[in-house]
Amino acid sequence: MTPTASDTPAVPATLDVAAIRALFPALHQQVYGKPLVYLDNAATTQKPQVVIDALRHYYERDNANVHRGVHALSEKATAAFEGARKTVQRFLNARSEREIIFTRNATESINLVARAWGDSQLKADDEVLITALEHHSNIVPWQQACARTGAVLKVAPIDDAGDVVMDEFARLVSPRTKMVAVSHLSNALGTINPVEQMVALARSVGAAVLIDGSQAVYHMAVDVQALDPDFYVFTGHKVYGPTGIGVLYGREAVLNAMPPFMGGGDMISSVTFEKSEWNELPYKFEAGTPNIADAIVLAVAIEFVRSVGFEAIGTHEAALLDYGTRRLQEVPGLTLVGTAKRKASVLSFVMGDMHPHDIGTIVDREGVAIRTGHHCAQPVMDRFGIPATARASLAMYNTTDDIDALVHALGRVRQLLG
């Protein structure tokens, strides 16, 4: 399920990167008179033409509200929307489409769980276990849930490479642990967490598990039946889809036991002023008119990714990550932050006393888009004793030329600030 040596096929699947690039219009432009080199994929990925076309097609031909009309367009929109749910179900290998809830983004998915599950399940002195490499969106909702319920937030530390210290993680799992919430792949460091082991540890004490797959789902195949968490979340805009759409996978029995998150239309089966009855899954958790267009277009993005295939994507990106790691280590004064044993996509670094913000501004004028800052993971920065890093992050359309352009631009940084 993750690109490890054992499941790399004997003849590696190949990816025609030139052909892939041709499908992404935004890659073919200049910034400041230089060809754009887009290396900020962990923030959001560019969109293939099929995704852009699908959005336009929906509004030109199919636009209607779902689940309410008897007219032709409403039936078309409903069929496409529910078809999108099926696509997401197959993408994650969930048992049923009732387990797929559309949200706005990963952040909303986690908040939904922290509210609806957390407030009904957590009690004083229960514990929520996260890791030190979480994105703020998998920290803050749990802090808030703990503040509401009296539960206690525990944090498993990471080591100097950016790996979760699993002995410590195991030590922190106890009968008090009620929720283990971990990211699949770290956006700040690129670490792939040993989620199988984490799920097993959580299960051994009967704790629930949420996996934040925001960074994972566009680099590796995910099978929620094999992984078996209670919740798995991701955000559409990182998997080559539109913004404004996210997914919450939840095990059906767990979702059924949860109270609704928001109240309103669509999430009820009957309403009187005395009492409302909740709708069945997944609608119980989708109050109000959903983001119909972007859900449909997310499915198009997912089909696109599946057509390229995770074998080909994984092989290409792993080779590129190796190349990038090697090339960046040749840059005088550069230190990689995050050198975990299992990594994907992310090259976070610092360069002596040159501030990442200055690095970002200077390489931008060379056409190279990277992210600088704390990457919504301030505790990770604190762990390494740095205010920020510069981060290049890879997607299927990146090439060794992109890495070379970054290395060249870093030369300009040294020229100017060195």
Binding site: Y32, M354, H355, P356, H357, D358, T372, P387, L416, L417
Partner: protein
């Protein structure tokens, strides 16, 4: 690279490498902390004010070249000024960095600080240049809250 030199002028690079008035100020009468959450820049500004005049000023912290150079230039500029003069210079600086790019800045009014006018072309960096000044304002009014750039 022409335009990058508008931002990273020699004076700025020099103040970044060798910041003036950098370090603690043991006999400070007031101080304030500034924080730019966007890039993690943090600085502490300390003032020794006597008879309404800034006798000594020093800053500590970490930040990008722009924020460090701006803090360094600011401390040089306000040293010896009265509180009112420093507050007025804050206004002039603020005016300069918010002047539209197609309009000239008033170099006479801001003197040496004019080298920071280049940030106007880099909207994401204006806050880096302003952090020290917002912290100064906080230190002058001695507020306990860390200064923010917005």
């Amino acid at each position: 690279m022409q335009d990058l030199h508008d931002l990273y002028q020699e004076v700025i690079l020099d103040h970044n490498k060798r910041p003036r008035n950098f370090g603690p100020l043991p006999d400070a009468t007031q101080s304030a902390k500034g924080h730019n959450p966007l890039c993690g820049d943090k600085l502490t500004l300390s003032l020794k004010i006597h008879d309404g005049r800034i006798e000594k000023v020093a800053f500590e912290g970490s930040g990008c070249a722009i924020s460090k150079a701006s803090a360094s230039l600011m401390t040089d500029a306000v040293k010896g000024q009265t509180i009112d003069e420093a507050a007025h210079l804050f206004d002039l600086f603020h005016q300069m960095v918010t002047t539209p790019i197609d309009q000239p800045i008033d170099e006479d009014a801001v003197g040496k600080l004019a080298v920071l006018g280049g940030v106007r072309e880099y909207p994401a960096r204006v806050k880096c240049a302003s952090l020290a000044w917002h912290t100064l304002k906080a230190a002058l009014t001695n507020t306990a809250e860390p200064a923010k750039t917005e």
